[in-house]
Amino acid sequence: MIVPALPIAPASARSLRWAVGVGLAVVGALALVLLFLLTQATNQQTFYEQNYGRLLALNVAVAALLLLVIVWIVARLLGRLRRGKFGSRLLLKLASIFALVGLVPGLLIYVVSYQFVSRSIESWFDVKVERALDAGLNLGRATLDTLASGLAAKAQSAANQLAGVADAGAGVPLERVREQLGASDARLWSANGQFLAGVGESRYQLQPERPSPAQLRAVRSQRVLIQWDGLDEAPPGGAVARIQVLVLVPSGPLGLLNEPRILQVLQPLPPALVTNAIAVQDANREYQERALARGGLRRMYIGTLTLTLFLAVFAAIVLAVLLGNQLASPLLVLADGVRQVAAGDLRPKAALQTRDELGGLTRSFADMTQQLADAREAVNHSMRQVNAARTNLQTILDNLTTGVMVLDAHGFIRSCNPGAARILRLSLASFVGYPLHALPGLLDFAVAVQQQFAELRSEGVSQGPGHWQQAFALNDAAPGAPPNPINLIARGAQLPDAENLLVFDDISDIVSGQRAQAWAEVARRLAHEIKNPLTPIQLSAERLHRKLDGKLADAEQAVLNKSIRTIIDQVDAMKRLVNEFRDYARLPSADIKPVDLNALITDMLALYDPENAIVPVRCELDPACPPVPGDSGQLRQVIHNLLQNAQDATETAARREVLIKTQWRPAARRVRLSVQDSGPGFADHILQRAFEPYVTTKAKGTGLGLAVVKKIADDHGAHIAIVNRVVGGVVRGAQVSLSFALDAPTGHPDPAPPLATDSGLYDF
């Protein structure tokens, strides 16, 4: 039934506990048996006389053993207490209470018994009793003495009568003497102990009991000898106590008998007297024995009592500890469980399988803890789910291109996603907690948004939750720079807690795409419409020249020639322009084959040799370049456009230099083609949008060159970048570079038309 206080208690502790329990039980049983024997020993004479000492020693040993056990237990308890082990205080308290309960009655009984024993033993022996016994003894002795001396006196007078009697005739006088004295026997002995004559009961004995030589000697010297027979402490049943008197018979007056004789008279004592006297003597002896032994007796009783007390108290303490442990263990289990639960540990708790209320309590507690743990597990589970959902949501929000912003009722930013920052081109994280209108350049937007929300709120009261949607154009361009608006479409909705959700999308690309498409259509139609009349115009001009050549005066001839040339030149230029427009609008799809860029460039550089080129073109080709997948015709146009641009850019520059180079980058498996010039570079706002159509810095140019390059690069899956070459903080020129992937899927469909912006309008 002993259940360890904690389920984690090691098996060795349990076995130790078992061993201690069994040992204690054995010791206790031994102590009880020994104690029983000891108490019996004080009453029974025969068996325990030899073993009393051993018994006592054994009992003392058992008591010592118990004491050791107690010392060990107390030391253990105190050690636990000092270590602050949980529950030791309760255990100590319980054990102390139980020990007290066992100790106090034991001590009380002991004290009373001690007093009782010591007093009562003393009270057995007092002077009066002793004196009475002594007096009884003296009385008996005096009676015996009186009897004896009376007999002796009579015997002496009788001896005088017998003085003259001869041995042979002694029978009659002896008989007379016997009758006179009332004796049982009367004998006459010679001095040396020879039987002379005898009368009485012993008459018929052949060999009467003869006085010893010492007696005879004593009689001769003292004339009278009195002796008692049969007055021993334990009178045998058959023996009769008697007085024996030996008297010296004086020599006869006749002198016949020189030798003295001895008269022996035996008189039986009254049996009542003998019995009483012997009883008094025995009683006296016993009393004296006990009086002498009372110290020992008291010591024995008190020793037994003390030993009993020790055994009882020790057993009580041991039992107290065991019982305390027994009682405390469910409480400890409970308290420990409570402590663990308070600390947040909801692991299953130990429950006692006893049938009492405490066991039930521990079971209920274990059930409760289990339920708590289940509830917490459920909460954790749903929390995990919520967190996962939140993480999902957050990931979605973070990766949404749409800007999402939560505003409170007063227009303060509560939170926003990276998309918002990207669209607004602001680091919004530092503006969380600020009002929306505090963002640079967003004052108008903020005011409009607030107004929309206010309207929504006023409507929402009557129509329920709704939303608003509105397009905005924000201009974040720096003052002085060409305007660069951001087109937004914003949508607002109400959130609980009077918060507002603002969602906005950057539709600038869509807007410009739509414009570009429109422009491309316009360009195509315009080109078509313009191209049709150009040939008749050119033919008409040539015919006019043919017909009128040589038929006019020199002055008119000169005018004609000049006009005709102008017409033809302008028509050519217009044709070229129209062709370019057409090319841009209807760029054929790329025909991808492996192209050796180096060979292509070398081939093309013939056109840019120093003789017929305004600006010399230098080239650095990487011989390691592998062929790249591409359309050689379109690549040729790219290189042509780039070199043309570079030459145009350096035309007015102080240092004219154009560099084209190729580079094989094995790590990225890409071939890089770059064209550098030493021109003035690009302004920042141009740099950002250089690939959009109709963006140009040239006085005469369609703004389509780089747009075509970009479109072809996109078709080839190549990266394209345009940067200013900055050396020491000074712009030294521009660089356009294309990076062709060797393995990249090329010729991906690019449905989006080339980008166009309003700024392209400036070219027309």
């Binding site: 020993a41 004080t42 004479q45 025969t46 325990y48 006389e49 030899q50 009393y52 000492g53 003894l137 008996g140 002795r141 015996l144 008692w228 007055l231 021993d232 402490e233 334990a234 006297a277 012997i278 003597q281 006296n284 002896r285 004296q288 024995e289 006990r290 009086a291 002498l292 032994a293 009372r294 110290g295 020992g296 007796l297 010591r299 024995m300 020793g303």
Partner: protein
């Protein structure tokens, strides 16, 4: 032939209440006889108890052992002489009972009684052991090493039990002495 072995008295501390003054062993045709003389000085408590009529028991023991070099000595026999000395207040005499067996509370058994008028007389008889036959002549093997242990003590176990408890561990009541005699016997002729 009479073989007499005697042990000279050994000087003992005078504080000891008893002492074997001399010890003799005679091996005759009739048997093995012990002669011993013990100096007895009764402790005051013992004498007091005797005077008050409490009987005292003295035991003389003779143990003969064969000496064995390869093992502990083997006891051949133990002979004891129990003596009971008691004062008779009625007749003012001292009575001494001598028996080969221990006295029991039921009876005295076969005993030899002697009466004395005074304690010193009785004690001198107790302390002097003469011609005590401890063995028949054929018990001991000739030409063998034996040892005789003679012990004389006041037998407290015969006393009433409270006395024993009271006397337990009290030197007042202890009265014992012993003496050892090594002997080699010739064959009795």
């Amino acid at each position: 032939m009479v073989l007499a072995l005697a042990a000279a008295p050994i000087a003992q501390a005078q504080t000891s209440p008893a002492e074997v003054l001399n010890l003799e062993l005679q091996n005759t045709d009739e048997g093995l006889f012990v002669y011993a003389n013990v100096r007895l000085e009764l402790p005051a408590v013992v004498e007091d108890a005797l005077n008050k009529g409490v009987a005292m028991y003295f035991v003389a023991e003779a143990e003969v052992r064969r000496t064995r070099w390869y093992w502990t000595d083997k006891t051949v026999f133990i002979e004891a002489r129990h003596m009971r000395l008691a004062y008779q207040p009625l007749t003012r005499r001292w009575r001494l009972n001598v028996s080969a067996q221990a006295f029991t509370s039921s009876g005295q058994g076969v005993t030899l009684s002697q009466y004395f008028d005074s304690l010193p007389e009785a004690l001198s008889t107790v302390a002097r052991i003469a011609r005590w036959k401890i063995a028949e002549p054929s018990v001991l093997t000739p030409d063998t090493a034996y040892s005789l242990d003679f012990r004389f003590h006041l037998d407290l176990t015969q006393l009433p039990r409270p006395f024993q408890i009271g006397a337990l561990g009290q030197s007042d009541w202890s009265l014992s002495t012993n003496r050892r005699l090594q002997l080699v016997l010739d064959a009795p002729k």
